[in-house]
């Protein structure tokens, strides 16, 4: 699904990713953990195609196709979805209007007509039920005045609507209480299939109790310094990151 080879990226002369290798197959859930400032969110942004980051070396392939030259929206059209750590507010644009625009722009890129209104409403109803979203929520302005939990739930709702091939969840657990965490995780679990893949970026092991990863990678100083199964996450939770730093330093 996603294959990253020797990826180097920098911003404003500052090197952040220093040779990332990652191979995520369809049907898999990968987690990337690591201390603050290790480059986790940068990796998410670079995969999504954020322009501030300069990729100097290496390549990113989605389903065998090199996506280096694609714009952010083209990557989105190909099925990359990024659930933001800090989703932005867009006053006056309702959740419904936003997701409708998003879905139809994606369809248009694929040469499809706009989704008929009736079908759209049905889909919205289905997906909002899946994520236990109150219908009133959908007519509010996007993320404006949303609680932390509502913002994240809204991200997962959009993910459910767009049905991406690769979903990157950037610190989705931050700012969530335990109930919200459960709802969000359940949503992700329901959306998982053999045809898509999930990349979870997280600082803590907590979310991984709910969304169980097939592989866990530790990112430190711009490199993946350790990979393992979900047991690695428990080990990190218990021992912290210092031993990783020391190992990496050696």
């Amino acid at each position: 699904m996603l294959k990253i080879t020797n990826l180097h990226a920098h911003i404003d002369e500052k090197s952040i990713l220093k040779g990332i290798n990652l191979d995520i197959k369809a049907g898999e859930v990968h987690a990337i953990m690591g201390p603050n400032g290790s480059g986790k969110s940068t990796l998410a942004s670079v995969i999504a195609g954020k322009e501030e980051y300069e990729v100097e070396k290496g390549e990113i392939k989605l389903e065998g196709q090199n996506i280096d030259e694609l714009s952010v929206e083209e990557r989105a059209h190909k099925g990359i979805f990024l659930s933001f750590q800090y989703p932005v507010e867009i006053p006056g644009v309702t959740v419904t209007n936003f997701i409708k625009t998003s879905l139809n722009e994606t369809r248009k890129a694929k040469g499809l007509q706009d989704m008929p209104a009736k079908e759209m409403l049905k889909l919205i109803r289905e997906k909002s039920e899946l994520l236990e979203i109150d219908r009133k929520f959908l007519s509010r302005s996007l993320n404006q005045g949303f609680s932390g939990g509502e913002k994240k739930r809204n991200e997962i709702f959009q993910m459910a609507m767009l049905e991406p091939k690769l979903a990157i969840l950037d610190e989705t657990d931050s700012g969530l209480d335990i109930d919200a965490l459960r709802i969000v995780a359940n949503g992700v679990n329901k959306l998982k299939s053999e045809d898509n893949a999930v990349l979870i970026i997280t600082h803590y092991q907590r979310l991984l109790d709910y969304i169980v990863p097939d592989y866990v990678h530790v990112l430190y100083n711009g490199k993946i310094v350790k990979s393992g199964t979900k047991e690695l996450a428990f080990e990190l939770e218990e021992k912290g990151y210092d031993w990783i730093k020391q190992e990496a330093g050696n």
Binding site: A76, I90, P91, S102
Partner: protein
């Protein structure tokens, strides 16, 4: 216009230049440049006006001569040379007695380019139009349907001849000739415009609409609109403006007077996209307009404007809330891009008791433009329990534009309640990235954000205008980010 889709918009966005920048060759009859008493007399004579009108114009001219052009607005421009403007230009083919079939095919072609073909308009829904090309009203439709209700809707030139008693009674009562420099000038030289009278208790069954257009090079356009809603009547009036691309600045100084008698309601909506000048700030229309409405007891006047055009805009649609319980509203979206400058807002003058006013102003600035809101809320000593709510929001795009807010409040009555809210925000790269990530390309993302920002005002526009307004917002801001 109704079937306008997003694909059409995309096509339009590809053409960055002003879309109405064509020029139709019409054999025009233009007066020599300059302004003096004989030009004023000649205009009046050309229009076969009665003596009282000629006198009224001359009086205005004398007042104007003694006045100075105002310079308090937050705009910088080269003052027009009023002696190098031709004050009258009429397409030669215009003849009020002709039917539509006789209209010059070139003219009709021009309407078609503007998307306002008359034959379509005739068939299409509830819009009656009085079209002003340069100075003379060429065609009025729907007259018959309206006249059955006793509604008078015609060019002001016709009204001066056919209903002199009404014109004489009301003209200059809301915007006196002495009001300001441009209104005095307009009173002296106005060429044409619309006149509308809604009789007592009549609810106008359709939206009334006028399209203005500047065609002849180097001519100023001075329309005069007079709209009277008699007791208990209702009317919704739409005004749209376009001007072809021209290098020299063109002056546009209109006067609009609204009179809402007891229990009457007037809704006046404007979509203005006069030529804003090119990307380098060359050319464009100077839009110096005086719009004011008078509300008698229990009356209501609602101004809604979407201003996307003109190089320089100086415009403050206002309400005089004279009668008790009268209501004034002002909803505005002003967009400036490139080198455009807009100084626009409203005046709400509360004279009667329990009068209420609402001001919602949305300013969007991009490029190197300057966008100012200027508003006055005035509560007189007699206006017990007057209320005002004002909200002024500014949206900035890029780092080279400016947004300014000048709210003036004068309250002389202790019972007044005045609220003012203001926000300034910027379209952020993070917002754009977010939209991009959801598959929405940048231009579309900006349109979405701007439409969201303007929603409170767009919602106030009649349906058929809202679509056009959204389209204009998108076109005006094309290429402003990234």
């Amino acid at each position: 216009m109704n079937k306008y889709t997003e694909d059409d918009l995309r096509e339009e966005l590809k053409t960055k230049e002003y879309e109405y920048g064509f020029y139709t060759e019409l054999d025009s009859e233009t007066f020599p440049v300059g302004l003096n008493e004989s030009i004023v007399k000649a205009i009046s004579k050309k229009k076969e006006e009665p003596d009282w009108m000629t006198e009224w114009r001359l009086e205005a001219f004398r007042i104007w001569k003694e006045m100075d052009e105002p310079n308090w607005a937050n705009v910088k421009y080269k003052k027009p040379d009023f002696q190098s403007i031709a004050y009258y230009s009429a397409p030669k083919t215009a003849d009020p007695n002709k039917t539509l079939d006789d209209v010059d095919p070139d003219l009709l072609a021009m309407y078609k380019k503007l998307g306002i073909s008359i034959d379509e308009q005739k068939k299409m829904n509830n819009v009656a139009m009085d079209i002003v090309v340069d100075s003379v009203s060429v065609a009025t439709t729907f007259k018959k349907t309206l006249s059955e209700k006793g509604i008078i809707f015609m060019s002001i030139s016709e009204a001066i001849k056919e209903h002199p008693e009404l014109v004489k009674k009301y003209i200059g009562t809301v915007v006196p000739t002495t009001d300001n420099y441009y209104s005095a000038l307009n009173s002296a030289v106005f060429s044409d415009g619309s006149f509308c009278y809604i009789p007592k208790g009549v609810r106008c069954p359709m939206e009334l609409s006028t399209y203005f257009r500047i065609n002849q090079a180097g001519t100023g356009q001075f329309e005069r609109t007079l709209l009277i809603a008699d007791e208990g009547s209702y009317v919704s009036y739409l005004e749209g403006c376009t001007a072809p691309s021209r290098d020299e600045n063109q002056l546009h100084a209109a006067v609009v007077e609204l009179i809402a008698q007891e229990n009457a309601e007037i809704k006046y909506s404007t979509v203005q996209n006069w030529y804003p000048g090119d990307k380098n700030g060359k050319g464009g229309v100077y839009n110096f307009v005086t719009k004011r409405g008078l509300c008698e007891k229990n009356a209501k006047i609602s101004w809604t404007q979407v201003e996307t055009g003109s190089a320089v805009t100086w415009k403050y649609p206002s309400c005089i809330l004279k009668g008790d319980n009268s209501v004034g509203e002002f909803y505005s979206i002003a967009v400036t891009n490139n080198f455009q400058q807009a100084d626009t807002g409203t005046k709400m003058v509360h004279l009667g008791k329990n009068t209420k006013s609402t001001i919602i102003s949305k300013g969007i600035s991009a490029g190197k433009s300057q966008n100012s809101y200027r508003g006055l809320v005035q509560i007189s000593s007699r206006a017990d329990n007057a209320r005002n709510f004002s909200q002024c929001d500014s949206l900035l795009m890029g780092n080279d534009c400016g947004a300014h807010t000048f709210p003036y409040i004068e309250a002389k009555n202790k019972t007044a309640q005045i609220e003012h809210e203001a926000t300034t925000s910027k379209i952020g790269e993070d917002q754009i990235f977010y939209c991009n990530q959801r598959g929405i390309e940048t231009e579309k993302a900006i349109a979405l954000i701007v439409n969201g920002f303007s929603k409170d005002v767009l919602n106030k526009l009649p349906m058929e205008f809202a679509v056009e307004a959204q389209k204009l917002l998108e076109i005006s801001l094309e290429g402003s980010v990234g």
